[in-house]
Structures are given as C-alpha cells and as structure tokens.
Symmetry: none
Subunit: 196 residues, 4 copies
DNA sequence: TATGAATGAGTTTTCATTCAT
DNA sequence: TATGAATGAAAACTCATTCAT
C-alpha cells in the first residue's frame, strides 16, 4: 500500500543481508587491526562499498558500539552459564578462559569492559559486570579465589592473559596462551600459608 | 671536501645535544602515540625541526630501532642487576615488575621482545633473552619458579601484566597494575600440592 | 565485490569529465612551468582536487606520458594533413611551423620527439617520425628541401626555431618567432649555386 | 699595521682561491642544470661548503651575474676579433658559430643576452650588443646577410641553433649541431631571386 | 672565514569522508 | 540504496637558507 505516511516498512532483504555482512566484516577487521581500522578495510571484508558502511554507521562510535554489543552479548551468555553451573572453580575457570581468549581476539576492543560507548553499551556492560561480581563473590566465599582481588580486576587480568596471544601475531598459538592463562588462574587462587 | 684528509672534526655541540633530544622525544612520542607517531610530533617533543629528525633517521625503521635499543639497554641493565643479586625470588620479582611496567609504558614497542628490527636490535634482544633464560633457570633450580613455565613465556606475561594499565588510559594507576603483577607473580610460583 | 560478475558499469559522468579536465590542466601546467610542475598546480588548473590527479596518475611518469601522447597525436594529425596535401613546400612549411610553435609552447616536453617515455609513447613517436620521414623525402625528391638535411634533423630545427620564443618569456611575441622560423625555413631550401 | 681604520687589506690567499673555485663550479653547474641549479650542487662542484657560496653570493642573482659577466666577456672578445677581421662572411660565420655553441653549452643562461641582471651585466651586454649591431650592419651593407633580419634576432637564432644540441643530452654531438648551424646560417643569407 | 647541521616552508602523497550516479 | 570516484586535510618528505661552531 504505497501511501504518503511512511508505513515503516520492513527493511529490504538485501538491506538486512548487508547489515549482517557489515557487522561481521567489522568484527573481523577490528579483531585484526584494532579500533582504528579503516572503513575501507571493513568494507573490503564485508564485501560492500565504503559508502554502505558509512550509510549504516556514519560515526565510528556507532560501529564500534554495534561490535561491542555483539561481543558483550556473547560474554554475558557465558557468564550466565557459569553462574547456572554453580560458580565453582571449574565454572569460573571456564568463564575466565573464554573471557581471556575472546578479549585477546578482540585486541583493543576490550575498552568495552571499562567506560566507553553509549547508553546501550553501558547497560550491556553493567549486566555483564554484575554477573562478574556475583561470580567473583561466589568464588571468594567458597574460598577458591584469593580474597584480595577486586572483582573489577578480573577483566584486566583476562585482557592481560591474552595480549600475550596478540604479541605473537600467531593467533593460533593456543598452547602459550593457555599456559599463560593457567599461570594467571593459579595466581588468582588464595595464597597458601607457609611460603617465603 | 676542502681538504683531502677529512680531519674528522668532533660533532658540533648542538648536533650532540640534538641527538639526545631526538631520542628522548621519540621515546616519549612512541610511548604516548604508538609506533605510528608522526615525525612532526616527535620533532615537537624533541624541540627540534622535522628536518633534524629526518637527517638523523631518514627511515622510520632506523628511528624505531634506536628507540628499541635504548629500551633494551635499560632492561638488560635491570636483568644483570637481578642476576648479580643472586636471582632469588625478590630479585626476580623486581626484574619482572620492571619489565612489566616498562613494557606497559611502551605499548606497541614491545614487539621489540619478539622479532622485529635489524641486526643490532636482534643482538641486543639476544643478550637480554639470554639473561632472562639464566634468571629463569636459576629461579626454577632454586624452586622459586614453577617448572612448567618456559623462559620465553616471561616477556609475554610481563606484557600481559600491564596491558592492564593501558586499558585504563590512566597510565599512573599503579595500584591496579601492581595488584595484577602480584597475582601473576603468585601464579608463577611453583604450585602447592594438595589443592583441588 | 557485491556481485561476482563485475557488471562493468560505464564510468561515472563526473569521472569522464574529470579525465579530460586533468589532461587539459596538465598540458597547461606543463607548458607554463615545465615537467616539474607540482600536482597541486595541475589540480588547480584542472579544477579538481589533488587526490583526483593522483587517482588517475599515481606516477608522474604516467601523467607526462598522457600529456605527450596528446601532443604527439596532434602533431601526427598535422603531418598527415601535410602529406595529404601533397607534401609540397607550402604544406611542409605549414607543418614545420606548427611543429615549431607547438614545440615551443611545450618547453621541456619536447623530449617526446627523442627517446623518453614508455612503449605507447614510443609507438606514437615512431608513427610521427615515419610521417616526417615521408614528408622529408617527398620534399627532397621534389627539390624543395636541401638534400644534405637528415629527416631527423627536422624536429631539432623546429625546437631550435622556437626556443627563441621561450627566451623572451613573451609567449605571444609571434613576430620574432615567425621571423626566425622563416630564416630557418629559408636555410632548409636547397642551396643556390654561385654563391661565395 | 693593525689599525682601527680598515686598511682595505688584500684578500687572503685562500679567499682568492675560493672565489675562483666558486665561479668555476657555478659555471659548470649552471651549464649542466640551468639557472635553477641548487647551491649545494654548486658547492659540490666547487669543492667548498654551501655556506661559502652563500657568503660570497648571498643572492642568487649576484651569483648568476658573476657567471654572466664571465661568459659575456668571452663572447665580447670573439665579437671584437670578428670586427677586426673585417666582418666579412667567414668572420661573421665564425662569430655566430661561437655564439651558438657557447650559448648551447650554457643552456638557460642565455637570458643574459636579453634583459636580466644588474647594471654591470647591462653594461657588458650593451657592449656586446653594440659589437653585434656593427657586425650585422657591416654584413648587411656588404650584402652577405639578408636585409630583413634585425640585429637583435641574431642571438635568438644562435640560441635556437644549439638548443638542438641540448635536446640530445649528448653535448658532444657536434655533427648535428654544426649541420643545424649551417642551415640557419644559410637561411640568414640574402634570398636569391627566382625561387618559388 | 669555512663548514655543514639545523630549520621550516613548501611539496608530495595518503586516506577518511563525502557525494554524484 | 549501494557504489566507488572525488575531495582536501593532514602526514611524509625535501631542500633552500640560516647560523652555531
């Protein structure tokens, strides 16, 4: 019904397809080159023209927000699963490893866990950090996590654990990344009395 | 060439002064903006004209090499001091902390600990890594460092420890950086038997 | 690449318009400032941004080649017309004058008549020189041109004739240029017996 | 006698030597690269530092004036010799050839024969042009030079004759240069009646 | 006085962003 | 709406001129 009142029609099929392509391309591009990737690089990976990326995300911040929301959603799902599993050490370990590896894959993007982005990012971050706080407290109450750790140190340590992977430019060198994560996880356990 | 004998006069006073200024400016600029800083920014911090920076380092690679050599030299000095002090746990700790903080302050430059740069950088790096290997073996033989750590994991963990500081954009938030370093150092100690 | 088949769309209207503008601007700029004109000057005369000139001719050599081809094309047309007219003395004179004045207007570019440029320039030059050879032989066979002239001296004499105009920095001082061309043309006629 | 009144002492030996070196270097450099040659190039050929060239000729114009005066002096000597020899056709030919070849060797410098330079250049030029005028009139009165030539066309034709040599980048291709000079000289002779 | 290192204006070149099609 | 050519601000680089030694 072609009327003059803008019936808010659903987006065209190719428009929807492009929206997904751009987001995927942006995630890949950001993972590979950091937050300063050029729009041309994103467009190249998405298989669209630069203009298309600009039409959808006129501001770089908007694009990064979309990428962050995507990532935060995945991490939140992981945290919920860990809480559901009782927040014991294996569950914490699994969540932390996931956080660390994803963080490593998204070099530079981890600012998401701090204080950038618009209100929607802030909300998503709050949701994740709240889960993180509960996970941490569970683990500390159960005595599996050292008590002097602040819950907001966790994402820092997670980022730390895998900037290691980033350094190598060998994203698949999992063995070292995992060894480093293990060391950090060990360090996060309560100290044992009777050590010099 | 007014004379054929090239009397090899000593460098001009301002030339010598500028050599130091350029290096210092470059280190500050790289620390603040990463490896892609503009030559103008470097010149500004050094208090010289761009031309002077170009005269001294026509290729960006040469400048970065000089910066790396400077940094590697300082780290090597620290490693030697730690070995002289017997490579016990406090000495190791002190070296690691130094490595971690300097690495953090030189975000992006830490590639130096891997495989970039010309032959002189490679040599300086080899010298440092050799000291690192000896430090690690000492500590592992003394039982103060977990045995399953490879000595070449150390710089990764050090970088890890302070990419934390970088995240904050608050380079002086030492308290968190130090807490993270402590956790990582704890994780590097030998595991204690009888833990789940 | 949204489609794998590259529908090979026709060039955009402004792209086509700009292609012509850039070439014209380049010819004017080169005529006025020589081969070393700045790209900004060319862009200014073409009425486009520098970036556009760079997009079309990333290498200065490519731009100069395009300018040469344009000039050689015009000269070739003139030579063909002269041959069609029978290559008698008036036709030769007219061609030579044209060659001389254009050469003078394109100071520095006249290398085109010698041995610079890529294969396309070489081909265009060969085409022109071949016509020149035929013109010369016609005229010598008809006895209107001195026999001891080599056909490849002609472009040198043409360049000579109007470097005169160049000297003045008064490109419109046609009267002197024409007088000099006339003298040279006179000199090119067969010598008359019985002169000291 | 070291007194306060600046006794106008003769220049130091090395100063005089340098003055000569700079002038020679400048003539070579200008011949090779034209009037826009860099001071560094001149200094290199002279075997002195740039600063020395600047000290002696703070303005580019002063340096070019010195070079011109040197060249004009040589040409004037040639013109005087031609007049002494009676200004017949062989003498004129010899002068013209000399003028042409020197002019060719000093590509770009030939502006000297027109209207650049300071008062001393103007005077030297006037002296040379006066000789040229007399040479021309002698030759025209004797009927060996076409009457419709203006005496001030001569230097233009001379320059013309050898810009030919310049085109080749083969400064020693005398055979072509000489053939071209001959053609031009022929063209300068009085026209012969009974030609189409 | 001679030297060449230092300077910075001007040129070349890139690339984020806009906009004609 | 999607595209990529056009744009021009900003970065890289050069080199004529100055000036500390």
């Amino acid at each position: 019904m072609p009327s003059a009142e803008r019936p808010e029609r659903p987006p065209r099929a190719d428009a929807r397809r492009n929206a997904a392509r751009v987001l995927t391309g942006a995630r890949q591009a950001v993972a590979a080159h950091g937050l300063d990737v050029s729009y041309h690089e994103i467009a190249r990976r998405a298989g669209v023209g630069v203009g298309t990326v600009y039409r959808r995300y006129p501001e770089r911040g908007q694009l990064m927000e979309a990428v962050l929301l995507d990532l935060l959603g995945e991490l939140t799902t992981g945290a919920e699963r860990a809480l559901d599993r009782g927040a014991d050490w294996p569950a914490f370990t699994s969540f932390f490893t996931d956080l660390a590896l994803r963080t490593g894959e998204n070099a530079g993007l981890t600012a998401s866990l701090d204080d950038r982005g618009g209100p929607r990012v802030a909300a998503a971050r709050r949701r994740l950090l709240e889960l993180l706080r509960r996970l941490t407290e569970h683990a500390q109450r159960a005595g599996t996590l050292r008590a002097d750790l602040r819950w907001h140190d966790i994402p820092f340590l997670a980022k730390a654990a895998t900037s290691a992977a980033g350094v190598l430019d060998l994203p698949d060198d999992r063995s070292r990344a995992e060894r480093c994560i293990r060391v950090i996880l060990d360090g996060m356990r309560p100290p044992v009395a009777g050590r010099s």
